[in-house]
């Protein structure tokens, strides 16, 4: 079945992607994660943030090492800012495809926080030191066990991720920098940029400005 909404999701990850803090835009982009940034009422107090030592360990285990330590740190910072900026049950975009008003899900962060704790407990249960103290190979092995039932053909939208490791991967991979790395070209999907440059073949990564 094809819906306009389905198309946009399929077309992708490219248009409805999280790009917080990762891209330079021709538009004057403000911080989209600013609390209550769109004027919606979100007065309920929420716990924000994650056990950063554990999250950094997960990030190092799942993100490409070739990004470099500082980029992995930046990607993790952006993920935390994104999760903290989420407004539970804000209205979803409606329009073509259905007439009822739908709402975004509950805050996924409490479950994600619990999963970090569980990873640590699991490591100790196997007689190992805490998760963050494990070797990279051991961390990846444990994560492989925890994620064994995850769908594998594509990453979900970050909000739909049922595990924080997948959410982190999904958030990073939906951004323009990750796509540029995958494509080997400076395309910058979803970033506002000059119309005229669209006609030329994008330059290779590392060779100049984005197409």
């Amino acid at each position: 079945m094809t819906t306009r909404r389905g198309f946009l999701k399929a077309a992708g990850t490219l248009t409805a992607a999280a790009t917080v803090g990762t891209a330079t835009s021709a538009c004057a982009v403000k911080d989209p994660t600013a609390s209550n940034a769109t004027g919606q009422d979100n007065s309920a107090e929420r716990m924000r943030g994650f056990d950063r030592i554990l999250l950094d360990a997960v990030a190092t285990a799942v993100l490409p090492a070739s990004l470099g330590a500082s980029a992995i740190l930046a990607v993790t910072d952006a993920f935390v800012a994104w999760a903290d900026g989420y407004e539970p049950v804000a209205e979803e975009m409606h329009g073509y495809g259905y007439a009822d008003i739908r709402y975004l899900p509950a805050d996924p962060s409490p479950a994600w926080r619990a999963q970090l704790t569980a990873l640590d407990l699991l490591a100790r249960k196997h007689g190992m030191d805490g998760f963050s103290m494990l070797s990279l190979a051991k961390q990846q092995e444990l994560l492989g066990v925890v994620l064994r039932d995850q769908r594998g053909d594509r990453l979900p939208a970050p909000l739909g991720a049922s595990h924080i490791a997948v959410a982190l991967l999904a958030h990073w991979s939906s951004g323009p920098d990750a796509w540029d790395t995958a494509l080997g070209a400076r395309v910058a999907p979803g970033v506002c940029r000059t119309l005229g440059d669209a006609t030329r073949k994008p330059l290779s990564v590392g060779t100049g400005p984005r197409a």
Binding site: A11, V29, T38, A61, M93, I101, L104, T181
Partner: protein, 533 residues
Amino acid sequence: MITHSADIVIVGSGITAALMAASLAEKTTKSILVVEAGKPTTPFADRVLARERWRAYGESPWKQDHLDDQNATGNTWGFSPSMNVGGLAMHWGGVSPRYSPEDFTLRSLYGIGTDWPFSYDDLDPFYQEAEERMGVAGEQGPVALDPRGKPYPLPPLPINYNLAQLQQWATKAGIATWSTPSAKNSVQHDGRAQCQRCDTCYPICPTGAKYSPDFTWGALVASKRITLVTETLVRKLEADPKTGRITHATGNRTTASGEEVTIEGSTFVLAAGFVWSPHLLLLSTSSAFPNGLANRSGLVGKYLAGHRNVNAYLRLPMELFPGINVQHSLVSKQFMRVPRSSRYLRHDLRIWESSVGREPRLRGDDGSIQFGDALMKDWQQRAKGATARVRGYYDVLPDKESALSLSAEKTNRFGDPMPNVSFKDALESATLKNWQEEQLRDLFRTMAKAGGGEILRMENSVNDLGQEHPTGGCRMGTDPTQSVVDAHGRAHDHENLWVAGAPTQPTASCCNGTLTFVAVGLHTAAAIASPAV
């Protein structure tokens, strides 16, 4: 009780209403009052941030853009509950093709459906007016396929690198394509910015490059040429039982006060779309008009039309870079201008770049979970090559009982029954549906083969949920027993009542409809402004 009064009263503030108001404001000296049930949605200054939050979280960028108790039920696939200043077109995609000349003469040419009471050539000047008022950027297609009286007002959006590769492939498959006409500024225009390929035309353009009706309303209100009354729901039109003339409208504020409102006018224009225009007529019952207004034919709410699609993703042996401009496409009208044949099929064709099949994944080919550089290496491998998306809309001819009715179960806060929408194909369309869809799938297979590619997957429209770019409910015609309004949108039964745009259309063609809705509305505006009226 609040009372408003004007020479011309327009109900609704969507794209058709906005451009009709602009036209009327220039062509008459009469006072114009526009009544909108909702309020203004996200102001322009907030749209950069609203876009970012939509991209980050899927939040609606359009705040307070509907009324919770004012909605339709039934086959509402093509319907939006948007009820705000600017209507649904605050989040339209800006795609602005014209129908083809055949759409106006289906009965004469193909022996099916209905002829419109005017021709494509009659509508051409109003298409042009609509394109100029919105600022449509377009490329003249082959004249035989894409006839028009004057050039597009703006140069076309460029055929970007990806589309250029796809255009070569389409040519190889024997299909003439060109840049899809769009109400997006290919150059700075009308005080609005040039398109910056933000690729979020739907649902929100952060730069103002895409036309939306709020720009027109802002200018008209600033010039004091119209009065825009918001948060006021028109619930009933009252007609003189003897003359049939509409004397006034009544309704309520949609604010907490719910105060009663009376609106007096000489001319009433319903420009509230294919749901709310017929809905208001059906609500407007009286002892003289027990079936509602303009309903002597019993056809108010009937003949809802639209189109469906077949969609495919194709893997092609070329190098594309998804993300250069995802929402821009190639278009062809080659299959809209077909000769009469034994079986009827007309459709448009659009071609896009796509990232389908090229995304990152958690598991490699062997099914094992992959992280880090292994995941990236797998992604880089998958990202090579090209995916194209192709889609054809094919027209669906409406049955008389493809209809909007008043719900027995659902009412708004004032007790008004809400609309229920139920689409039904005419027999000729129902009979042809499977064959038509298979023809489209065959075309996509042929296209894939011509490019040395393969089909990744094909999909049909969501069945039985509704239709796209819907029209009808107050269809136009010359015979008052077979139509609700005349060729200019004037109700057969009420000399000072007009219905504008989509609801009046007998059919909905096989391409995006907004430009035609507006052109038909401008055709109506010209008649209203004519000294003879």
